[in-house]
Amino acid sequence: MAKKPIIQFNHVMKQFDDDAPVLDHVSFEIEKGKFYTLLGPSGCGKTTILRLIAGFTEATSGDILFEGKKINHVPANKRPINTVFQDYALFPHLNVYENVAFGLRIKKVKKADMDAKVKEALSFVNLKGYENREIAGMSGGQKQRVAIARAIVNEPAIILLDEPLSALDLKLRYQMQYELRELQRRLGITFIFVTHDQEEALAMSDEIFVLNKGKIQQSGTPNDIYDEPINRFVADFIGESNIIRATMIKDFLVEFAGKQFECVDQGMDPNEAVEIVIRPEDMEITSVEQGSILVTVQAQLFRGVHYEITCMDDAQNTWLVQSTKKVNIGEKIGLRFTPEDIHVMRLNESEEDFDRRLDAYGEDENNAK
């Protein structure tokens, strides 16, 4: 353990009234200075986690620690944490300067210092000279930057961002993704970012927590999560994927679509029922003779960068393939992939078991690659 986590959740549970818990024994650690993303479908509890960290609501049970100290009952205004709200929550009766200076005024910062800090924060988000603008007259992207400036000007330990980009058009969104990531690197502040857009999560994060139904499904770097999803939910949620029922014959040998394939996974029981994932971009279209499996083309969509081709094999499994090559519907083609492209998932494996298994065989797996 190198550094002490800045935020730690220990079996945090959150329940409203008598409904099913919104967060179900959630535990995780956040390290200082990194960019974290909470990713999950609508209603999975992302905002609830942010609200717990910010202090707008209290956990039903479990502990929330800040730098090792329990902060369950510390009110929001006493936490060195600032939030960029999903709807920006800028004060409509104040201009840009006053919005950004709001936190500084409460801390009774001297006028000259305040001017300097507000100016610096605004130039950080490329809004130099906007001090006297009214909020009502600003575009979505500008409002969002004011909201970010309002948070960073206080130099908090952590900034929480609740889907701040969801209201922007695609182009501005990409631009803001770069700017946010860049900003985080420059400031070195811990960012906890919420999104339900997997591409955004993969592009921006040091670490991603994938949530579903109030539980953390998997946490790890974007690469880990993309390449080694722990279960069907994660594989499906993070990018397009082909998920096929399979049987693990023995270590490094898996059977699906009526054939046996070499793979790089191990540690399962012999003949265990599993699922395999192959990403559409990892498969190559070849002739029938050269293909690892044989399929019939059913549909084809032009996606700009590539064609998205839907095929079916003889065992009635549907395969999604991305290719720059055009094919003909009804044509029989071969799909080729290597053992590294196959990722085997056990059914109902918990994150701890998954990590333990990978650790136990980590050495071998590295050798295999």
Binding site: A54, G55, F56, P75, A76, N77, K78, I81, N82, T83, F85, D87, A89, L90, F91, P92, H93, N95, F102, G103, I106, K107, E134, I135, A136, R150, N154
Partner: protein, 267 residues
Amino acid sequence: MQNKTFRNLFMLPYALWIIIFVIAPILLVVYFSFFDINGNFSLTNYKNFFTATYLQMTLNSFWYAFLITVISLLIAYPTAYILTRTKHKQLWLLLIIVPSWINLLLKAYAFIGIFGTHGAANRFLEWAGIGSRQLLFTDFSFVFVAVYIFIPFMILPIFNALDKLNPSLLYAASDLGASKWTTFRRVIFPLTLDGVKSGCQVVFIPALSLFMLTRLIAGNRVITLGTAIEQQFLVTQNWGMGATIAVFLIIIMVGFMALTSIRRRGV
């Protein structure tokens, strides 16, 4: 072109309404104010208005209207605030609004009963060991009843303003380090100021010209511009003087409206 004539046609009934019921009466009032009690054209009424009696009366009216407005506001704001936080807020609001549907006169008479020598209020005072006393025909009872009558009109606009307030603004304030009190001072109050202003308008302006209530509850204890106008028209039959007081009343009202309607930038 055609559209415009069409629109003007639609405007006609409203224009007529305003001319007949707003502009014409005001002009008439101004016109009457220039005639003395004998029907001669003169400025005596205006001269009279600037004597101690009438100025005192104006001050009185102001003072009571101010008192009624401030007390209503002090009660209505917290009430509206609590209302927005309750579960069935619309129902509670309705319960508070319902009394305002009852005729003013009925309520005044009800209070005469309650505040009378043998009324419920005095019986309570006796029971509490304080002993009965004169309640009716005091300025206390006047202000009390007036506040009771006006309070729903103060609560309603404030409630609406508070209800419209985006709750994430309150979280944002607390997130930026504001205590509950600072949040109220810097965010909640400024953002509900429009509601407070319209509440003050709908209370202050009618309170300025109250006369029936003044007569019934305060007797001769409280003499305001409203009662003076009534007196001039109905008792003294000096329409000219009554009209003059009305002119000043109108001027004060317009002034107050202008004062409370000044919009700050951006809001």
